[in-house]
């Protein structure tokens, strides 16, 4: 069973995605901001197969967190999908340039669509 780490500051969104992913047999871990997410990524217990990363968060933004992730050899290979409501071209390009494998806009993808995208990316990464 693949494990997903959702880094998202909005508790409602966290609960909603957690419910959808669990219904689709994924194991879910949650972090509430960038700092918390980095901490959980580095912990030996969690080790997620894929990360869903929000951008607008207090303490540390998703972009800053992504820079740190990609600069840390111990976690840089974990695929990161940005899941945000910022739909601008500039943000998307920035996210992909920083190393995200995909850039998804929450409002443009129903939760079940996100499931299929995650599944596709996990298959690409050789994880199911």
């Amino acid at each position: 069973m693949a494990k997903i780490l959702i880094i998202e500051d909005d508790p409602l969104m966290l609960r909603m995605y957690e419910r959808v992913f669990k219904l689709n047999k994924y194991e879910v871990e949650m972090a509430f901001d960038g700092e918390d997410g980095i901490k959980k990524l580095r912990s030996a217990e969690i080790k997620p197969d894929i990360v869903l990363l929000d951008i607008m968060m207090p303490k540390m933004s998703g972009f800053d967190a992504l820079k740190i992730i990609k600069a840390d050899d111990s976690i840089k290979d974990i695929p990161v999908i940005i899941l945000t409501n910022l739909a601008g071209k500039d943000e998307a390009e920035k996210g992909l340039k920083l190393g995200a494998i995909s850039y998804l806009v929450k409002s443009e993808h129903e939760p079940k669509e996100i499931i299929s995208i995650i599944k596709e990316n996990l298959e690409k990464a050789g994880k199911k």
Partner: protein, 526 residues
């Protein structure tokens, strides 16, 4: 122009001095020859000699200052003790006569018709020129002041919001231009003003600024057209009698009120989840459409501008919107169907979706705690459709609309002319139309260009053109109808047709299109 403006003053002074006829009292009836000898300079009340036979006997040439002594003769016939015209004691003549002479030299004696501003139908004969001139000055100054005031305001607005001001300035200038024309020629101006305001309003609403403020406004076209026809008809048939400046202003208020109000009271092709206090759109809010049985039919996450929309089968549904730190349904908006920005407000009641309709209810939520996301979003002004000034402009437009409505009522009450009843009728039509309108939009379709038949169950894929990545997927229903909402930007669309064996084949790829509101507002013809 300047000299003409002073003409009434000359005439007025002439009236005053006309009584100072030069005269000499004669001792008895008979013919006399009067010899005049003056040995003083005119500046000291100098003498005169009316020896020019062409001169009006009441008008005496003033002695040039350099000529100290004038001698001449005039003849007159008087009775005893009568007055022989043509002689005036030097100390009484100079000031008035000097002014009169100057007036005669610079102004033709023909009566001056003022460049009137108001249709003074058959002005009273006793109205004197200086009164007309004063009115002219007042009107000219008023227009100048209004223009200046408008420019000042617009300058401030420019600093306040360049984007908004640009559109508003053009609109204001166009309206002022129409007002000035109207003031100069009431009858032709009445027709012209309706054309100009109609055009200006249309341009304004069609501009990016106007769209931000008022959105796409088909009802505006109807309003503008109806008002235009009404004014043309009324003026053309002579039903309108513009008798005063206040009539003009009242008419303006009513016209602009109708146009502005009708443009504002329209539906948008999406629903918005928003803060009931600040009226700002909320994201991410989670919206769910459920049948009455509780079965969830569709869900959506609102975009940065709080937008969503559900194209679901006809039936009865309930909506629910959730957002961290907000509560649903809104108690603040309980019982209200509209506010400054939104109409068609949803409070949690059952809804009936008609065939082919998209549910686009506006859902207010009450804030119950501090929301960091909303704070950050507002601080960075990340909205793409919503304008921070929207509420401000909505209030302004509402004010104009209701002022127009009020002026229409008052005018009709105190002056029950046909034109006033027409304005009331137009307002009534829009109010009734607004009450009946549910804000629902019809879904667009994908059709065969050759046969116009719908392409059922087609898959419509929306690609972000600049990055060439798939953004949204919508599936058409059995009649080829579909709906999608994406962020404003450049996209292209592909259509996959369902084949007999159940597989799909791409049959269409559109050119890149600029979806300013992230929504497709016309059918796709394949």
């Amino acid at each position: 122009m300047t000299l003409k403006r002073f003409f009434p003053v000359f005439v007025f002074l002439l009236f005053i001095f006309a009584g100072n006829t030069f005269a000499a009292t004669t001792p008895e009836t008979g013919n006399f020859t009067v010899t005049v000898s003056v040995s003083k300079k005119s500046s000291d009340g100098g003498g005169v000699m009316p020896n020019n036979p062409n001169l009006n006997p009441n008008v005496i040439p003033v002695v040039p200052p350099e000529e100290n002594i004038i001698t001449g003769e005039i003849s007159c016939t008087t009775e005893e003790g009568g007055v022989c015209p043509g002689f005036l004691p030097p100390e009484e003549i100079t000031p008035g006569q000097q002014i009169t002479e100057i007036a005669e030299e610079v102004i033709p004696v023909a009566p001056i018709v003022p460049e009137t501003v108001i249709d003074l139908t058959e002005p009273p004969a006793e109205v004197i020129s200086d009164v007309v001139d004063t009115i002219n000055n007042i009107v000219e100054n008023t227009v100048d002041n209004v223009t200046q005031f408008s420019n000042d305001v617009l300058d401030n607005i420019t600093e306040f919001s360049n984007n908004i001001a640009e559109g508003a300035a053009e609109y204001s200038v166009a309206v002022l231009d129409a007002v000035q024309n109207f003031v100069k020629d009431p009858v032709a101006g009445a027709v012209n003003i309706s054309v100009k305001i109609t055009e200006a309003t249309r341009d304004f609403v069609e501009s990016p600024t106007g769209k931000v403020i008022t959105g796409v406004a088909k009802p505006l076209g109807v309003a503008a057209g109806a008002t235009f026809v009404a004014v043309q008809t009324v003026v053309g048939t002579g039903m309108a009698t513009v008798t005063s400046l206040s009539d003009i202003y009242l008419m303006l208020w009513k016209l602009v009120g109708i146009l502005v109000g009708s443009s504002k009271r329209r539906g948008r092709p999406w629903g918005t989840v928003y803060d009931s206090v600040t009226k700002r759109p909320l994201d991410p809010a989670y919206v769910v459409a459920s049948r009455i049985t509780g079965e969830e039919v569709a869900d959506a996450i609102t975009d940065l501008d709080g937008r969503y929309g559900f194209f679901i089968p006809a039936g009865t549904y309930k909506l629910r919107a959730d957002k961290t730190n907000y509560s649903f349904p809104s108690k603040k908006m309980e019982g209200k169907n509209s506010d400054e920005i939104y109409n068609n407000i949803y409070h949690g009641e059952e809804l009936t979706a008609g065939e082919g309709e998209v549910l686009v209810e506006n859902i207010p939520l009450d804030p119950i705690g501090f929301d960091w996301n909303e704070f950050a979003k507002n601080k960075q002004n990340l909205f793409r459709i919503y304008s921070k000034r929207e509420r401000f402009w909505s209030r302004i437009f509402d004010g104009i609309y209701f002022a127009g409505l009020l002026s229409a009522f008052i005018a009709t009450l105190f002056d029950p002319r046909i034109i006033n009843f027409i304005f009331i009728a137009i307002y009534a039509l829009f109010i009734i139309h607004g009450m009946r309108k549910k804000g629902r939009k019809k879904a667009v379709s994908v059709k065969s260009a050759a046969s116009s038949l719908p392409i059922p169950f087609a898959i419509i894929k929306v690609f972000f053109a600049d990055m060439n990545n798939l953004t949204k997927v919508a599936v058409a229903d059995h009649l080829g109808r579909f709906y999608f909402l994406v962020g404003p930007g450049r996209y292209y669309i592909t259509v996959d047709e369902k084949q007999a064996d159940g597989t799909y084949k791409t049959i269409y790829k559109s050119a890149t299109m600029d979806l300013k509101h992230g929504i497709l507002d016309k059918d796709i013809l394949v």
